[in-house]
């Protein structure tokens, strides 16, 4: 489960995901929301005088909570696609969305 959190750039580490576009003091967009941080990106942001980042924090779930959440996601997506399961393009889209949602848990 993801929640927003504002952190100091000095606390940023690899694999954190930015939740909001990173804009430098001159108004230039340096990094789009959703991007995954690497050490070189973090260094680059520091050089551009970025002091804070809004990132996604993952909330830890118990095994039972995780399983329930996974089942809920699968059931929701199954229902959403229930009227279009005979269409190959929609099956492809369903697979992509399922993978994306499950990855978050």
């Amino acid at each position: 489960m993801k929640k927003h959190s504002c952190i100091s750039i000095s606390d940023a580490i690899d694999d954190m995901q930015v939740a909001v576009d990173v804009i430098d003091p001159k108004g230039v967009c340096l990094l789009r929301a959703g991007a995954i941080l690497t050490s070189s990106i973090i260094k680059g942001l520091m050089k551009r005088n970025i002091e804070e980042l809004t990132i996604y924090r993952h909330v830890e779930l118990s095994d039972e909570e995780r399983n329930e959440r996974l089942k809920s996601i699968i059931d929701e997506i199954d229902h959403r696609f229930s009227k279009v399961i005979d269409k190959p393009l929609m099956l492809e889209l369903k697979s992509v969305l399922l993978e994306y949602r499950i990855r978050e848990v």
Partner: protein, 278 residues
């Protein structure tokens, strides 16, 4: 059932956008060189609009953070196209506030609309279509549902009931019970409000993109509506997904991989914009 004449007459009874908003939009659409001071004076006559325009202008969506302190600055730095989109978005959001009490949850409906807008902005880059126009059109694509809820409450309740009992797409329930759907009502109202042509087209054809000849913003919003529903962000009246037309995808030169690599950014943009309108 609502006949076309009844619908047109009913749309005629919907309160227009305020005269200052119309005046601003006319000024921005006139093609004549704009006096920024004059434009600023018109915008500041609407305090709610002014506040929202400045708030949006200072958001990461427009690349500025706390730099813009006046409408004139916003106009100079963002450009007239951005200001036009900001004025339209702000006016409609103010007309249908997020906490409006209706059968359909407006908070969730706006959430879906914002997700569609965010998706349209991100996916438009793959197709060389203006991302800001795509965003605004995406934001407004479902205003027909809000108009139904506020101005045709009793009739719309029947359509919502039919959707719930039959687990169908809401626009199918609307067509069955009301003889029309939110796309047509939204487009007729947008025409009355003299919104830009591409927004009217998008609202009218966002479920039937092949009815319009030229691939553009309408098609991006059609795809984005489906992506937003797929992500399950917000609620637009039903929990189903319409089929994505492969021919439209091909026309737009979009593929599933483009969507896959955009999902993170779409969600993040959606979250950010929702904090601005909440």
């Amino acid at each position: 059932m609502l006949s076309k004449d009844e619908l047109v007459q009913a749309v005629g009874d919907i309160p227009p956008l305020s005269s200052s908003i119309v005046s601003i939009m006319n000024m921005l659409n006139s093609g004549i060189e704009i006096d920024f001071l004059d434009l600023e004076n018109k915008i500041i006559q609407e305090p709610g609009l002014t506040g929202r325009v400045l708030k949006l202008a200072n958001s990461p969506f427009y690349g500025m953070t706390g730099e813009i302190n006046s409408i004139k600055e916003a106009c100079l730095l963002l450009g007239l196209n951005s200001i036009r989109n900001l004025v339209i978005s702000s006016a409609i959001i103010e007309r249908f506030p997020i906490d409006t009490k209706t059968n359909l949850d407006f908070n969730k409906l706006w959430h879906h609309s914002v997700a569609t807008a965010a998706s349209a902005k991100v996916l438009s880059r793959y197709c060389n279509i203006n991302p800001e126009q795509s965003f605004t059109a995406g934001l407004l694509h479902d205003i027909g549902k809000m108009i139904f809820e506020v101005y045709f409450t009793d009739q719309y309740k029947k359509a919502l009931q039919y959707q719930n009992e039959n687990d169908c797409l809401l626009f199918e329930a609307e067509r069955k019970i009301l003889g029309t759907d939110h796309s047509e009502l939204g487009a007729l109202t947008a025409e009355q409000w003299r919104l830009p042509e591409n927004i009217i087209h998008t609202i009218r054809y966002h479920h039937d993109p092949r009815k319009t000849d030229i691939p553009g913003v309408e098609h991006i919003v059609y795809v984005s509506n489906i992506v937003a529903r797929g992500l399950g962000i917000g609620f637009s009246g039903d929990n189903l997904i319409p089929a994505l037309d492969p021919i439209v995808m091909e026309t737009m030169q979009l593929n599933i991989d483009n969507i896959k690599e955009s999902l993170g950014e779409i969600e993040a943009l959606t979250d950010g914009f929702m904090t601005l309108i909440s």
